[in-house]
């Protein structure tokens, strides 16, 4: 079913989304991938504050290509989510409500999604040019030295994603494969 939601995402929206829903996200989301997750984990271990508030936040696993003049961002599609599996459960327990990536997640991430009423979305991998058109603004807000891996705040409009793992633990990747 097609749904439109706002980001940050409300507890209610996150709970009501179901695996297989086609979702258009409008609002503010943040990017973080391998190196930024490693730094956030180090900050948590040292008892420091994270550069973004996790409450209701959606993180997009993405490192863009550079923007040409006059554009907010370059190509901007999802990266493989499983590389963030090591870090995701802690962030979910801190209030992270949504993750956008591509590919499978570990059981411990799936458990943390259910425990926290969160959701894992997939964006279409390799559609970075198309997806960049749904990003209206982009600003680096932390870890600037990481280049493409810095944390960016994005304003998105009708950003198209599909629910893969929902708050009940349904997993679209597992169910669809059996249908064909």
């Amino acid at each position: 079913m097609d749904r439109h939601i706002n980001a940050p995402i409300s507890d209610e929206d996150a709970k009501n989304l179901r695996a297989g829903d086609y979702v258009y996200i409008t609002g503010t989301i943040y990017t973080a991938r391998d190196a930024a997750h490693k730094r956030m984990a180090e900050a948590l271990a040292a008892g420091e504050k994270l550069p973004i508030d996790m409450e209701g936040t959606i993180i997009y696993y993405m490192g863009p290509s550079p923007a040409r003049e006059g554009r907010p961002i370059g190509s901007a599609g999802p990266t493989t989510a499983s590389r963030m599996d090591k870090y995701a459960p802690d962030l979910l327990d801190l209030g992270l409500k949504g993750m956008i990536g591509k590919g499978k997640r570990s059981q411990s991430v799936q458990d943390a999604i259910v425990r926290n009423g969160a959701v894992y979305f997939a964006a279409v991998g390799g559609a970075g040019a198309l997806l960049s058109k749904r990003i209206l603004a982009s600003e680096v807000i932390a870890y600037d030295d990481l280049g493409t891996e810095a944390i960016r705040k994005l304003e998105v409009e009708d950003f198209p994603v599909i629910v893969v793992i929902d708050s009940e633990g349904n997993n679209l990747y597992e169910t669809v494969v059996k249908e064909f």
């Binding site: 993405m62 490192g63 990266t79 591509k102 991998g125 390799g126 559609a127 198309l130 679209l172 064909f180």
Partner: protein, 280 residues
């Protein structure tokens, strides 16, 4: 002896990095079109339509097809009657990659050391495979490789007794494990034979083979067709969201091997199977 100045190689590689990241080759576009027409899942069709639109946007607005503009893999075959002048050939290739990635707004995805992991900020060095061939030409293929799919690639050191059935099983195992991570529909490059490193190199080369070119070996053609069918029957589908198009093509290359071995390399590539080819 024909003299070729390496600066010419630099400028060509620069252009090829940019070209490969914005336009797919005509044979790739053709299989894409066929995939859209034959996909049975409606969600799968929707994904393929998006990917087609993505290709149009990339070309029209000069936005890379995918944000992972890859590590630059360069195959360069230098004719033995060519005299390269004007500097070090490896430096010249890396300079072309540097200029292409910096001036072409491509992502810099290379770190200088696998453990220390500091970004080199210009996507160098490239991975370069040199060949010496007859003639007085320089033939270059630039194949930027994304790592979502590279990470799902495998080498299997099978036993001779495993035979062709073992090869088939190895391919299916790699593709199943790759699943949605490798941005299906995939192109699957397979190298059979040689040694440990040779089968991997053959698999990489297989990915750059024009999809309209057929293997001269009959059993290889049959293997390619059978594997394409079996992979598409896995149901993974476009984007891993279910469907009948999990792979666009399977390309197999073979090489003689040792009496005791059957090496199989499987290089998985996503639908953004990029390669630019030029002869200087």
């Amino acid at each position: 002896m024909r003299e070729v100045n390496v600066s010419e190689i630099t400028s060509n590689i620069k252009e090829m990095c940019i070209e490969a990241n914005h336009y797919l080759s005509p044979d790739m576009k053709k299989v894409f079109q066929e995939a859209v027409e034959s996909e049975k899942s409606s969600l799968g069709k929707q994904v393929l339509d998006q990917l087609n639109e993505n290709l149009d946007i990339a070309a029209a607005d000069m936005i890379p097809i995918c944000q992972d503009t890859g590590m630059a893999v360069v195959f360069i075959n230098v004719g033995q009657d060519v005299h390269l002048v004007g500097g070090d050939i490896t430096d010249a290739i890396n300079e072309g990659v540097r200029q292409g990635y910096v001036e072409g707004y491509l992502r810099k995805s290379v770190v200088s050391d696998p453990i220390i992991r500091e970004n080199t900020k210009d996507n160098t060095p490239a991975v370069i495979h040199y060949g010496i061939v007859p003639g007085d030409k320089v033939e270059i293929t630039v194949a930027p490789k994304g790592f979502g799919s590279e990470n799902m690639s495998r080498v299997f050191m099978l036993k001779p007794a495993d035979g062709i059935e073992g090869v088939k099983e190895a391919i299916l195992t790699a593709v199943k494990d790759a699943g949605p991570n490798a941005c299906p529909p995939m192109v699957v490059g397979v190298g059979v034979g040689g040694t440990f490193e040779q089968c991997a190199l053959l698999a990489k080369k297989a990915l750059t083979r024009n999809l309209e070119e057929e293997s001269p070996i009959e059993y290889v053609r049959e293997l390619e067709a059978e594997m394409l069918e079996k992979i598409n029957a896995l149901g993974i589908g476009p984007g891993g969201l279910g469907g009948t198009k999990t792979a666009l093509a399977v390309n197999v290359e073979t090489y003689p091997t040792h009496i005791a071995g059957l090496p199989v390399g499987i290089n998985i590539c996503c639908h953004v199977n990029r390669h630019a080819h030029r002869v200087i």
